[in-house]
């Protein structure tokens, strides 16, 4: 292999904020171009499709509200996922934690609903968070104790949680009044989250949590310890951080936030528990959390944009008759580009002569 000149990628010392942002925006534009090719394959005009998507997400007051309703679970779940990911704990069990949180909150809403509304909702929120947190604590315990691969365990637990909800819906919790339709009874009025400015109060909870999680990750000792563990287990051990305890606390929080989402979706959106309660949010949130570089304020923005993509996506389905799967492909394309762009944020290219490269290596 004789090449006099070669291009080498070198790690940037400190990527500039503006530069990083412009590279990411460039990646999204490229993704839109690639998506356009895909839309052209469907023999549609990409510009038309994009305009309709924006209209579908933000065109009328009603659609804006729908987009916000879609964004709420994404924001909160992404925050939960971000706490775990910050620690390099790959919690892909958001789906299961949402389902179990929803199950616990629903138990009180259905069977112990003899309470005034504020108390009822508080009990449901606590039940949802606690159940989601405990469900996540199982893989966290295995991880902390024996280093068990959490990716697979959290994922397997999603299936178990969903089968459990399915069992309830088709078995003991099935509403006898629903005339053979496998459905759980709707919650009483005192178990439904009230609306504020036309959207259920989940949006207020989400905004508060963005601030709380931001402060927790960036300005508390625990948040810092989580980041250190994520950077390097050895550094954390050397610094005297109680690794096991920190893992358990962080994942309990992570699962607790997902459990809260389960409560909100059951109470304010579905008005009951069902197998469709998670709606894939647990998986989508992984993407949004990552695209937002695990930063709480960015999660808010990315989640709203993603919710708009989903809302706009379902709108173009009805307008152009594009199948649901096309929207998933578009999501995949956009993600691939953004993931790939990280390389150009972290590395720069230099052209070097082969000789100097060898000389440099010898000097290392």
């Amino acid at each position: 292999m004789i090449m006099p000149i070669t291009i080498r990628a070198i790690k940037k010392s400190e990527p500039g904020r503006m530069k990083a942002a412009s590279i990411r925006i460039g990646a999204i534009i490229l993704a839109l171009v690639a998506s356009s090719l895909f839309i052209l394959l469907l023999s549609l005009n990409p510009a038309d499709v994009y305009i309709k998507m924006i209209q579908g997400a933000f065109g009328t007051a009603y659609r804006i509200k729908e987009t916000i309703v879609k964004a709420i679970p994404l924001v909160i779940t992404s925050l939960g996922i971000a706490i775990a990911f910050k620690m390099q704990f790959w919690n892909i069990g958001g789906e299961g934690q949402i389902a179990i949180g929803s199950f616990a909150a629903s138990y009180f809403a259905l069977y112990m609903n003899d309470m005034p509304m504020p108390l009822m909702l508080t009990v449901m929120i606590l039940a949802g968070m606690l159940a989601g947190g405990l469900w996540a604590l199982i893989p966290a315990f295995f991880k902390a104790q024996w280093g068990t691969n959490e990716t697979i365990v959290t994922l397997m637990m999603n299936y178990i949680a969903l089968k459990w909800v399915m069992f309830l819906q088709y078995g003991p919790w099935r509403d006898p009044k629903s005339l053979g339709f496998p459905k759980i009874a709707n919650f009483p009025q005192n178990a439904v989250l009230p609306k504020l400015l036309g959207v259920h109060v989940g949006w207020v909870i989400a905004l508060i949590l963005v601030v709380v999680v931001y402060i927790f990750i960036n300005h508390t000792k625990k948040g810092y310890e989580i980041a250190v563990i994520g950077e390097s287990m050895n550094t954390a051990r050397y610094a005297g951080i109680n690794i096991k305890k920190t893992i358990l606390i962080a994942i309990m929080l992570s699962g607790g936030l997902c459990g809260l989402v389960g409560m909100i979706q059951a109470s304010a959106v579905n008005y009951t528990l069902s197998v469709e309660i998670t709606g894939g949010v647990g998986y989508t949130a992984i993407i949004t959390a990552w695209l937002a570089a695990l930063s709480a304020p960015l999660i808010l923005i990315v989640s709203i944009l993603f919710a708009a993509l989903l809302e706009g996506g379902s709108y173009i389905q009805t307008v152009f008759g594009i199948p649901q799967a096309a929207a998933e492909i578009l999501q995949g394309i956009i993600l691939f580009f953004v993931l790939g762009s990280e390389f150009f944020v972290r590395y720069k290219f230099v052209i070097v002569k082969k000789h100097s490269a060898i000389a440099e290596k010898g000097a290392d």
Binding site: A9, N149, V153, M156, Y159, G171, Y283, G332, F336, L339
Partner: protein, 311 residues
């Protein structure tokens, strides 16, 4: 006795798609790449293999197409993680999302169609002379369809490749310590690319078995989480292709045990039986991690992008 033989026979059939996906992921992880896109690649293989099979009625072309589809998915992953050094976990998850969308989109007009007659004939059970007559073992192992035999061959060949050839040894070195492998003159990038693509092709084959032989029709989400179980089976099999054979058939048995239990007249909710493979997977992972030993650990550099400058 008849019932036991029929159960074991069916367990092997149900385990075959898991086997291909597990072997694919073993080869991928041996090169140091943790590709969580197995489910997506299986779906891509299932749909493309089915589509080509339906249109050409050729078994060879159908299987080839399924392998190319799986490898195509793996190529996206490989480019992102090897060349661009993107995070492997997130890239793999994205591949699964993309693959699911791709399969739903391409397969939307084919859903519910049945695999063509010629392919079903090709994959009907075939008794191997002599071996098929061995009592008990014969009817269980050697009266299977061609795809199952391909599974036996694939795990033995991969085992020989990994442990008995010099390229296999190089591959293991790349997965354990890419820096040292690079210094020894092994082309790390090439090894990673080739084996990630080969792994994807095997996952594609696993998917094709589901749509062309096991069901044999195209259903939406035909893999039903099998790709994820395969990722866990890799750990269960301790990255060893021979052990993958047993693991896959064991989980194949778990997959079908529900119907059999209910046929015996035992009243257990279907939903609890459905939880079994997942519960067993978790138990296995925990037990494996408790008895941690050197040979049972995975390739050391698995999941870490390799960058020569940071050696």
């Amino acid at each position: 006795m008849e019932a036991v033989i029929s159960f074991l026979h069916a367990a092997i059939v149900a385990g075959t798609p898991l086997l291909f996906a597990t072997l694919g992921e073993i080869i991928t992880e041996r090169s140091g790449n943790l590709n969580l896109g197995v489910e997506g690649m299986m779906l891509m293989g299932a749909v493309i293999g089915f589509m080509v099979g339906l249109n050409t009625e050729s078994t060879t072309l159908a299987l080839l197409a399924a392998m190319i589809a799986g490898a195509g998915g793996a190529l996206i992953f490989a480019f992102l993680t090897i060349t661009l050094r993107a995070n492997q976990v997130v890239s793999g998850l994205t591949l699964t999302i993309f693959g699911t969308g791709f399969a739903d989109f391409v397969g939307q007009d084919l859903i519910g169609q049945i695999a063509p007659e010629s392919l079903r004939l090709f994959f009907r059970p075939y008794t191997i002379p002599l071996l098929g007559d061995i009592p008990f073992i014969g009817p269980v192992l050697f009266r299977q369809d061609a795809f199952v035999y391909l599974g036996y061959a694939a795990s033995i060949l991969l085992g020989l490749y990994l442990y008995k050839t010099s390229t296999g040894m190089n591959l293991r070195a790349v997965g354990e310590n890419p820096g040292a492998a690079d210094a020894a003159g092994i082309n790390v990038t090439l090894y990673k690319y080739l084996h990630t693509l080969l792994g994807g092709a095997l996952c594609g084959l696993g998917g094709a078995y589901l749509s062309l032989v096991y069901v044999p029709a195209l259903q939406e989400g035909v893999t039903a989480g099998r790709g994820w179980i395969a990722v866990a089976l890799v750990i269960f099999a301790t990255w060893n292709p021979y052990k993958a054979l047993f693991g896959a058939y064991l989980f194949g048995g778990l997959d079908i045990i529900g119907f059999r239990i209910q046929n015996l007249g035992i009243d257990v909710s279907q939903y609890f039986i459905d939880m079994l493979p997942y519960l067993v997977t978790i138990t296995v992972l925990v037990v494996v991690s408790m008895r941690k030993s050197r040979e049972k650990a995975g390739p050391k550099a698995c999941g870490i992008p390799y960058f020569r400058e940071e050696r």
